[in-house]
């Protein structure tokens, strides 16, 4: 199908972008890589009046080392994350996760910011951001604010972003060890279930995707002292919703399989 008609603007500065977003209110949508928004327009699932293309804004791109960790601009694409030597060195979890996202032609345009802002429950980056305890940098007309990933994802496709705000970057603290695993029906499809696991200062964090409305930190399994215990208590952490092909019990079983794979690599 074809998209309904809409206007298009490509502001050159953040101030102009905030202005457009404010003036058009609910009628305006931010366009980044377009790899989720354009399909939804083509299928006429949404019909904004105006697309505000943020890809011309300086300051939202680039990968930068911090004293502790890495800052990745919202406009950095999945392909750039996949190939970046800095990401491989300082945030290997993201380098492992990126190849699981869709297919090469989609990874060339889809962005980190778009994926975090969309908050698809089966997406890879939101779970990685929670597992690494990332901080999201949000730009608004009145300045910047910072939110921890754990508080940013509020519900199904729902985040802490307020109308008129733009996600500018995410800051990822380093982890001593990291592992990303997922199960999908076909390479590049959205995951049935996935797991981002990290270890920092001998504390483990296991965060599941596809196991609820948001990324889910398995609190009990993360504290367990043995794999047996972790597998056992995972039932208290997760109550995954069934999907078209998998019951809740199957998903919990698959989650335990992933937990074992991740545990053995940490």
């Amino acid at each position: 199908m074809k998209a309904p008609s809409f206007a298009y603007a490509r502001p050159g500065t953040l101030a102009e972008a905030f202005d457009l977003l404010e003036r058009h209110g609910e009628g305006a949508r931010i366009l980044a890589g377009g790899q989720s928004l354009i399909p939804s327009l083509n299928m006429r699932l949404s019909s904004p009046e105006l697309l505000v293309d943020i890809t011309g804004l300086a300051g939202l791109s680039g990968i930068e080392s911090l004293p502790k960790g890495l800052r990745i601009g919202a406009l950095v694409t999945h392909a750039q994350i996949e190939r970046s030597p800095e990401v491989k060195r300082h945030a290997p979890l993201l380098a492992q996760a990126a190849p699981h996202i869709a297919h090469p032609a989609i990874r060339n345009r889809g962005t980190l910011g778009g994926s975090l802002a969309l908050a698809d429950p089966a997406a890879e980056y939101p779970a990685c951001a929670v597992a690494l305890d990332a901080t999201l940098v949000i730009a608004g007309k009145k300045g910047e604010r910072r939110v921890k990933a754990g508080a940013f994802f509020k519900g199904l496709f729902e985040t802490d972003l307020r109308p008129g705000e733009i996600l500018a970057a995410a800051e990822f603290p380093p982890a001593d060890k990291a592992v990303f695993v997922e199960l999908a029906r076909r390479h590049g499809d959205y995951a049935i279930i996935g797991l981002a696991g990290t270890q920092a200062a001998s504390r483990k964090r296991f965060v599941f995707l596809g196991a609820g409305a948001t990324p889910i930190l398995a609190v009990n399994a993360s504290k367990a002292s043995s794999l047996e215990e972790a597998r056992e208590v995972l039932g208290k952490d997760l109550d995954p919703p069934a999907d078209l092909y998998h019951s809740s019990a199957t998903k919990l079983h698959l989650a335990r399989v992933l937990l074992e794979r991740a545990w053995n690599k940490l």
Partner: protein
């Protein structure tokens, strides 16, 4: 924008995506349209050297970019080896998926000197073929990359 080496200038509606622009405004009908939501890969084209879904990029977003389509790559001879291998290995039947498949395959050829069947499959995982089955296609790409298959 520059399409297959020639500059083009048009005024177009914002909602027109890149493949519709190429097909309808420029008559370049080699890039196909299947699903229009990013799933099938029939619309794969190259923008500034990177393959993209032509149905998931607005034509206005390609303003100032260098766009290459199957017609351009075919005329320049860039795809000669892949085209020959697809032909020899019967890697197409109806041909609907073939332009997108060749664009994705060439992207891999440019990135890697050699690669495993597994890597080839992963690279074309976003391109659907509804008739040939993927073995012959992977065989053809492997023939070009590794000189065997």
């Amino acid at each position: 924008m520059t399409v297959n080496g020639s500059p083009v200038r048009r005024r177009i509606p914002a909602r027109q995506h890149l493949v519709d622009f190429l097909r309808e405004e420029l008559g370049l009908t080699g890039s196909h349209i299947g699903c229009e939501h990013g799933v099938c890969g029939a619309c794969t084209v190259r923008v500034d050297g990177d393959i993209v879904r032509g149905c998931l990029m607005l034509a206005v977003q390609a303003n100032g970019c260098k766009v290459d389509t199957i017609e351009g790559l075919s005329d320049s001879g860039e795809l000669e080896a892949l085209q020959k291998a697809f032909h020899e290995r019967n890697a197409l039947q109806c041909g609907f998926c073939t332009p997108g498949m060749l664009m994705a395959a060439q992207d891999l050829v440019l990135q890697k000197a050699r690669c495993s069947r597994e890597e080839i499959k992963r690279h074309i995982s976003g391109n659907y073929c509804r008739c040939t089955g993927y073995q012959a296609i992977v065989d053809a790409i492997e023939q070009v990359l590794n000189g065997q298959g």
